[in-house]
């Protein structure tokens, strides 16, 4: 058994998707003076072997995607975007370890059902939905329009650094539980890439707009608040991105390749 496989076996499975499994884990046992026992919890994302792919192709793809995801995260960290920090990378086995974010997804906070409550694995860590349903935002001492401003701010900072998330949905945003004020953290950079094109940034925003419309029908007007915050932070690019966004709304995410 390789060390990384042993680490996965000692971890708790939280989620499983088509591309990867997600675990909660600890890298070591024992205590360092001035820090917690066992260190901090981390999140492991395991891009498991896809049996339907040729082994060589599989390992090349896994390696590439891990490199891409970690580089995007690093670029975001350097640019002051709130994203999980990196803790370990094993490109050979397809595992990355990132900072554990204690908090709640924006999807749940806006009153939608958790995406995979019926999913496999251990869901006992997840908060009781019924208890939260009254007003999930109250726990964070915040309002939905404030959360929208935080979202717009983080996306603007990310785009200013030329990182395109590729899968902006309210499931891929978390509100971090902090005593002071909430911080909004962008997660899952598995589909991210680097681009300076206004077109790519507009499509990123459009994908989020569609996600809002389909998951949170009542909060659709709130998306304007996201854009307002975005235009303030990334004012330099907003004119071009905003114009592109209008174009993308008319034609959809895919560009017409005719002619």
């Amino acid at each position: 058994m390789t060390p990384t496989v042993a680490l996965l076996e000692s971890s708790t499975l939280i989620r499983q998707g088509a591309e990867a499994k997600v675990y909660k884990s600890y890298l070591y046992d024992g205590q360092i003076s001035g820090s917690d026992a066992r260190g901090e919890p981390i999140l492991l994302k395991y891009r498991f072997n896809k049996q339907y792919r040729h082994p060589t192709l599989n390992s090349t793809l896994t390696r590439q995607r891990i490199a891409q995801e970690t580089r995007s995260l690093m670029k975001c960290l350097r640019s002051g975007v709130h994203v999980p920090g990196l803790r370990m990378v094993d490109a050979q086995e397809g595992v990355i370890g990132i900072e554990w974010i204690e908090g709640e997804s924006v999807r749940v906070l806006l009153g939608a059902e958790d995406e995979e409550t019926e999913g496999t694995g251990d869901t006992s860590d997840l908060p009781d939905l019924e208890q939260l349903e009254h007003d999930p935002l109250a726990k964070f001492n915040t309002t939905s329009s404030h959360v929208m401003r935080l979202i717009g701010t983080e996306i603007a900072k990310m785009h200013a650094a030329d990182v395109i998330h590729g899968d902006l949905t309210t499931s891929n945003m978390m509100l971090r539980q902090r005593s002071d004020e909430g911080t909004e953290v962008l997660i899952d950079f598995g589909l991210s890439y680097v681009s300076a094109l206004a077109e790519d940034k507009a499509v990123d925003l459009y994908v989020l707009e569609r996600a809002f419309a389909s998951t949170h029908p009542d909060s659709e007007p709130l998306f304007q608040t996201v854009l307002d915050a975005y235009s303030k932070i990334n004012s330099k690019e907003w004119k071009a991105v905003g114009r592109k966004l209008d174009e993308v709304r008319l034609r959809g995410r895919k560009r017409s390749m005719v002619g």
């Binding site: 360092i32 803790r87 370990m88």
Partner: protein, 199 residues
Amino acid sequence: METITYNNFEAKVHLALFTSVENGKEIRERIIKASTAEGAEGDAAREAVNFAFVDAKLIASPRHLLTATYQSLLAESQESLKTKTVHSEIIWSLNPTSNITEALRRFGVNDNSSTLLVVRVVKSSENLDVEKNMKEVVQGNLVPLSELENVTDWSLISKYYKLNSEVAVTGLKNPNDTKRHKIIEELVTSFVAMKSVSS
């Protein structure tokens, strides 16, 4: 000295912080000499300095160093070490570039090192008095790792990792701002974690 266990590597890692170190130059010379010594005497000389001697002022937190240690253990297990031993790999992992000489010069023990973080990786089956061996090599005061925060040279870390122009810290100009230190600590820890896929 403090010890943690990596069950998945079947290894223990011992860490000790020494301040007021007086014999940095001697340690460096001993390591160089031991590396080419032959026979049983050579083995003994190598065993006596079989540690990673890291200049503690370039370490932002225990987590920063442990991330380098984890990635080095991983490289060793996959036979992809860039240097000769897991201990030199720890020093290499900390350096932002892949230049081994530069890594050793900056992050390793040198003539003016006054504080050292000494790391020893021990496979769980081995039974050694690591603390005694550390004290035999290093002339200095053994202090708890929590003292590291008084040792870290944040501006030198920022310089070596080229962080001064990063957007994440440009808003925090005051070099003594603890918020700035926290961000730098996160940046260097994350960088060390992803060094294997950084370019």
